[in-house]
């Protein structure tokens, strides 16, 4: 398997009863990337993350973590992973610090790490408060501390900014950038909000109804949203012929509508006069740029 990927799945499928929740999913998460795993609610993000953690069964040779097959190297794979899945799983009767110490026991690491983590996520003042009494945001921070405590190479964070206030969101975002940038960690972060991922992700995977609809670098996603010129005309076939001679890149055409790639204002004016001079009536001509949010909606509404 390709070892430049931290996570690689090969046509991964998962069913709950008769319902297929993950369909032929081939994720490729490069090492050192922040991979934004996007999709609307119920798209299969959490299920995929649970499969990556071997919490849900997967067939052999479909999931590879740092090049190792998951089912046959479960412990070795999990050793390299830290995770936060859905709402953080915290023992409510223990304090925040005790939750972290318990994790230290399970991982066989120094218990002093617990205090360090509390400082990192800004929970030092609430260290001795029962975790059950934490606010949602505090629980989320504790969950992130639990995921980070073993200093794993790969972090799987399922909607980590859920329930955080704007300040908290910025802190977690900066933490992720620092972890990937300075410490070379790979982070897979799921979200249903593109705007949140757009600022930090280097790579993006968009999933809907269990199918991966887009996967690539964030700029490739931006490229998909290049501006176009929309021209409304009386005779689109004639317009197409005329524009064809200029070498304009035709993107789409419909009855009374032609879409071509936007290359600059001057060209846009040129196309306009060319059409008018050749007897095509132009009702309207304007540029259109899809923002990523619309692009995301477009992509996810296609299947």
């Amino acid at each position: 398997m390709n070892t430049s990927f931290a996570i690689e799945t090969v046509e991964l499928n998962h069913r709950f009863g008769s319902q297929t929740v993950v369909k032929d999913l081939s994720l490729q998460v490069p090492k050192g990337s922040i991979y934004g795993f996007l999709g609307p609610n119920g798209a299969g993000k959490t299920t995929t993350i649970k499969i990556l953690l071997n919490l849900l069964q997967s067939s052999s040779d479909t999931v590879f973590i740092f090049g190792k097959e998951l089912n046959s190297n479960r412990t070795a794979c999990l050793k390299q992973m830290g995770s936060l899945v859905e709402q953080p799983a915290i023992y409510a009767h223990l304090t925040g610090k005790e939750n972290l110490i318990n994790r230290c026991i399970l991982l066989g690491i120094d218990k002093r790490k617990a205090t360090e983590m509390l400082t990192l996520v800004g929970l030092s003042n609430a260290a001795n408060k029962k975790a059950g009494k934490y606010s949602l945001g505090m629980k989320q921070r504790l969950g992130i501390a639990l995921a980070l405590i073993a200093d794993p190479e790969l972090l799987l964070l399922d909607e980590p900014t859920n329930g955080l206030d704007p300040n908290g969101i910025i802190e977690i975002r900066n933490l992720m950038i620092e972890l990937a940038g300075k410490h070379g960690k790979t982070i897979l972060v799921s979200s249903h909000l593109l705007a949140e991922i757009e600022r930090i992700a280097t790579h993006v995977g968009i999933i809907n109804k269990g199918e991966l609809l887009f996967q690539g670098k964030i700029n490739e996603l931006h490229d998909l949203s290049k501006p176009v010129i929309k021209i409304e005309v009386d005779d689109s076939a004639a317009a197409l012929n005329i524009l064809g001679t200029t070498g304009a890149e035709i993107i789409d055409m419909d009855e009374g509508l032609v879409k071509i790639a936007y290359t600059g204002k001057a060209e846009m004016g040129k196309y306009n006069s060319l059409l008018v001079n050749n007897g095509v009536t132009v009702y309207a001509i304007h540029t259109e740029k899809k923002d990523l949010e619309h692009l995301f909606l477009d992509i996810t509404s296609k299947n």
């Binding site: 071997n54 919490l55 799983a89 409510a92 009767h93 005790e98 318990n102 026991i105 399970l106 066989g108």
Partner: protein
């Protein structure tokens, strides 16, 4: 092995502030304390019977053993098996527990062994406290005849037998609480089982020993020695004790398979 050890330590760390853990200690303290208090405050009445040492020990220890074997033990086991698993159900922590780099068998075994250890602590304390409060009573009321007989052997054998005879119930309840996260199902089944066990054991049904819930009662009943033999010479490994151990072993394995085949939601 290391996986098992750290999982076991973590089980203790997690549950040391829960009722299940403290009940293992407080339950014997309260029951033995109350019985001792009763003997102390009613010492005049007890002394009237002029029991010889062995008989006095028999009367004294059967007060605890009687309630223990019949009622408290099954209910404690049910509650404890529930609690050891419920700590994960309640906090939705199965997923984190099984996403740690520890093999599943160690995590499961540590949980099961921890439940067995709690049961052992509880029963051990019952034996220890019965023994020590007897001698304490002797010091407080010198006319008692506790000094005339040393019950160490018979008490350890009896409670040891009771412990082995409870493994069946523990395993059934452990699996029930592993599968179901709610309180009512394992408790309901356990309650019905205990009543069934009590009835079948007391009417002397031929196959009562096959019901794990009747094994502790049957085990205590079968702890009589043959004539002309010392009271300590009864057999520990009687039919119902073997059945209980067999339930323990089989259900332990079954529980592991249930867990590995199950997707963790």
């Amino acid at each position: 092995m290391r996986s098992f050890y750290i999982s076991f330590v973590s089980e203790f760390y997690k549950s040391r502030k829960t009722l299940a853990f403290w009940a293992a200690i407080v339950l014997p303290l309260i029951i033995c304390g109350l019985i001792a208090l009763g003997y102390y405050s009613n010492s005049a009445r007890v002394l009237k019977y002029n029991y010889p040492g062995m008989m006095l020990w028999f009367q004294y220890s059967s007060a605890a053993l009687g309630v223990m074997g019949m009622l408290i033990l099954p209910f404690y086991v049910m509650f404890m098996a529930f609690s050891v698993n419920n700590i994960e159900h309640k906090n939705d922590t199965w997923k984190t527990l099984f996403s740690q780099p520890l093999n599943k068998f160690s995590i499961y075994t540590a949980k099961y062994v921890y439940a067995v250890a709690l049961l052992f602590i509880c029963i051990f304390l019952f034996a220890l406290l019965t023994y020590s409060t007897g001698y304490l009573l002797q010091m407080l009321v010198p006319k008692f005849t506790f000094n005339d007989y040393n019950p160490a052997t018979i008490l350890s054998k009896l409670y040891g037998k009771l412990f082995l005879a409870s493994l069946g119930i523990l395993s059934v309840q452990f699996i029930l609480s592993l599968i179901w996260s709610d309180f009512l199902k394992p408790m309901g089944i356990g309650f019905i089982g205990t009543i069934m066990g009590m009835i079948t054991a007391s009417v002397g049904w031929k196959y009562a020993y096959l019901i794990p819930y009747s094994d502790p009662t049957l085990a205590l009943r079968s702890s009589t020695s043959p004539k002309n033999a010392t009271p300590e010479s009864f057999t520990i490994f009687t039919q119902e004790v073997w059945v209980s151990i067999a339930y323990g072993v089989v259900l332990f394995v079954v529980g592991y398979f249930i867990l590995t085949k199950r997707n963790i939601k």
